[in-house]
């Protein structure tokens, strides 16, 4: 069993003092199809997330794949699914009442105008839905490479020979 023997060897090396990085992640194409959301629902969530964290000089939620990550989070914790199903439907109803179109057919400005009162009213059903999507967008976006590294500039979890700490004398006591 040569394969087993070599796996064993790697372990032994890894358990010696010294630095050995864990192997690279298996590269698989990101799944492009949501599991929980219907295609029409997914388009609403994708647009809503992009309004919460839009593209600036860095990627927004759409480019970061946030709606798919929310889909995965719902699959992992299905109790959240019902709020989404109802919220998407209510949001489309509100868009139809206000503009005679579904949410995804509205212009960016119209979407913002529709969402602004919801963001200020966390006690209404649609306000609660907005807050839920906002929280889950934050959780998802700032864990992606686009959100954490490109947007925020995080560059941690890496080998450093020394930790320099703060280099501003004015911060020191």
């Amino acid at each position: 069993m040569p394969a087993l023997a070599s796996a064993q060897e790697t372990k032994e090396v890894g358990d010696q003092p010294g630095h050995l990085h864990a192997g690279p992640a298996i590269q698989v194409p990101a799944p492009s199809q949501p599991t929980f959301f219907q295609p029409s629902e997914f388009r609403v969530v994708d647009a809503l997330c992009e309004r919460i964290i839009p593209r600036s000089d860095t990627p927004g939620a759409k480019e970061a794949g946030v709606a798919l990550l929310i889909d995965k989070a719902i699959v992992a914790e299905p109790a959240r699914g019902a709020s989404y199903r109802a919220g998407i439907s209510d949001l489309n109803a509100l868009a139809s009442d206000s503009y005679g179109k579904e949410f995804t057919a509205l212009s960016e400005e119209q979407q913002i105008a529709l969402l602004t009162p919801l963001s200020l009213d966390p006690d209404s059903p649609l306000g609660r839905f907005f807050a839920l999507v906002k929280d889950m967008t934050i959780d998802a976006y700032y864990k992606t490479e686009a959100g954490l590294k490109t947007e925020l500039g995080w560059h941690g979890n890496t080998y450093l020979a020394s930790f320099p700490g703060c280099d501003h004398p004015e911060h020191h006591s």
Binding site: T10, A25, I26, V28, L115, K143, G153, G156, S173
Partner: protein, 526 residues
């Protein structure tokens, strides 16, 4: 620690481990947050360090959750612990003497000081030169890591209002030490260290113990009961194979129990017999009672001088580099609560947890910029306060459902009371004083909120030591009053919880207990 100290003194030890060794090369240490999801999508799983409660349940009364974290496997929770290593002081050991609440410890600082010194030298603890009454110092600290910007700002602000903040003491190697490699500041310690740069029992104690040739480890051995002979002495244990569920018994002349507080207590309570109807060594009825940990609150603010500034790699040694030692005993002012609190500052600076963003109002481009501007400026304040021991906070097994081996599971009934609520108000006041002094923007908070019970992951007190056998289960050497050849050397032996993290004291007490045990063996007393 017990296996290491006994084998090096010539004692043959069989260790029953409820799991197996976690190999460092399997840890997901250098896995960035987005790669974590990619790996899961590809069907990979991180090593199962934390025990799944579906595999091994515990129960709590309705509406009284206890967030228990257990690790079954070699080295237990030290594989992923927080590494904060604070010495208890006589303020902790004699607290009950001063305020009259429950029993005092049977030991004082002078009894344990030589063992703290030995533990510091063995495992490597970094820290500063700031010995004080509530936080005794050490001659053996490794250099402390430099502070992050936000930590300097907290220290300066606290100092301006008379609150002392010192380098924290952590069992992280800032230099190579005793053949162990120093930290490389990747900050992913919570997934296990891939080079063993912080103390863990597996690499630092069990590997050397194995080299003596006197340690035999049985993996996947889930201990159910300690067995006793007709003289009322322990003579072995009953255990179940975690994979086959087969029952086994193994015999020995002394038993050391160190399964972490909750599981050790479960084993003792399940070890009932005609001679010990109330569980092993429990004639006092204290075993299972006085469960205590720390209450904690969390406050976040943003330092104005750091907003919109450069983003540093703030990983450092993973977690706080500074600590606020207890001070509430110094000003002579009478409090409406007893005991004390200290403060840690985990996740100050640019970290991977962005939950603060949820408290920033609005959405869109302005929201996105507000999150980014605050990212390097996060100040995190995290006080820990002692929860006092109460008889009704207890672990029981009678009437509990049975686990997959047919053994009753733990029922944990724990709540915090008025003393903790009152103390938490001064904990909030103190964090606010520091944040105001720093002119920080403060994230909205609810000053009645406490972190969930159990989330300190510091269970103590359910097999406590004391002078009086009527009110304690162990003597000052972690030896059972009722059963002289049983020693209990984990957090369950603690008489009080204090505001401090317990691991350093567990190690020192276990070293002292097993020195005593080896001596008693030589003298033919156990």
């Amino acid at each position: 620690m017990a296996a290491w100290n006994l084998t090096r003194q010539g004692v043959n030890v069989t260790m029953l481990d409820a799991g197996r060794k976690f190999n460092r090369s399997e840890f997901w240490t250098h896995v960035k947050p987005w790669e974590w999801q990619q790996r899961l999508d590809a069907g990979q799983k991180p090593p199962p360090i934390v025990l799944d409660p579906v595999e091994q349940p515990y129960i709590t009364p309705l509406g009284q959750n206890f967030a228990l974290t257990r690790v079954w496997g070699r080295g237990g929770k030290t594989n992923i612990w927080g590494r904060v290593s604070l010495r208890y002081s006589d303020l902790d050991f004699t607290g009950p003497l001063r305020d009259g609440w429950e029993i005092p410890w049977p030991i004082r600082y002078k009894d344990i000081e030589p063992y703290y010194d030995k533990v510091d030298q063995l495992i490597g603890v970094c820290g500063g030169d700031d010995d004080q009454d509530s936080l005794p110092g050490s001659k053996y600290f490794l250099p402390p890591p430099p502070l992050r910007c936000g930590e300097h700002i907290i220290k300066k602000a606290a100092s301006s209002v008379g609150i002392g903040v010192v380098p924290i003491r952590r069992a992280v190697l800032t230099q190579n030490h005793n053949g162990h490699t120093k930290c490389h500041y990747c900050g992913a310690c919570g997934s296990g260290c891939d080079v063993g740069a912080f103390f863990n029992s597996s690499d630092y104690l069990i590997e050397p113990a194995l080299k003596t040739g006197r340690l035999n480890i049985i993996n996947n051995a889930v201990v159910a009961r300690v067995l006793v002979d007709e003289r009322g002495l322990a003579n072995g244990v009953q255990y179940f194979d975690r994979q086959t569920k087969e029952e086994h018994r193994i015999f020995g002349r002394r038993v050391v129990v160190a399964a972490s507080c909750v599981d050790s207590t479960r084993i003792l309570l399940n070890s009932s017999s005609p001679r010990f109807p109330n569980g092993l060594g429990n004639s006092s009825d204290v075993v299972g009672r006085y469960l205590s940990e720390q209450i904690r609150v969390t406050m976040h603010g943003f330092a104005p001088e750091l907003k919109g500034g450069k983003v540093y790699n703030d990983d450092g040694i993973g977690g706080a580099h500074i600590y606020m030692p207890r001070f509430n005993h110094r000003d002579g002012r009478k409090r409406d609560y007893i005991r004390g609190f200290g403060c840690q500052f985990w996740y100050t600076g640019a970290q991977t947890d962005l939950s603060y963003a949820k408290s920033i109002p609005g959405f869109g481009l302005n929201f996105k910029k507000a999150v980014k501007d605050r990212y390097p400026a996060v100040l995190a304040l995290h006080p820990f306060g002692e929860a006092i021991p109460k008889a009704e906070n207890r672990i029981t097994v009678k009437g509990s459902p049975l686990d997959r081996y047919g053994v009753p599971v733990s029922r944990i009934a724990y709540s915090v009371g008025e003393n903790e609520r009152r103390m938490s108000q001064e904990m909030y006041d103190t964090t606010l004083e520091i944040l105001h002094a720093a002119k920080a923007e403060i994230i909205p908070f609810d000053r009645n909120r406490l972190e969930p019970n159990g989330s300190a992951i510091h269970e103590h007190g359910t097999c406590r030591m004391g002078e009086d056998p009527q009110r304690s289960a162990l003597n000052g050497f972690c030896q059972m009053h009722d059963v002289k050849n049983v020693f209990v050397v984990d957090g369950s032996a603690f008489t009080t919880a204090s505001e401090k993290n317990p691991t350093l004291t567990i190690l020192a007490l276990a070293w002292r207990a097993t020195d005593h045990m080896a001596g008693e063996m030589r003298r033919g007393n156990v």
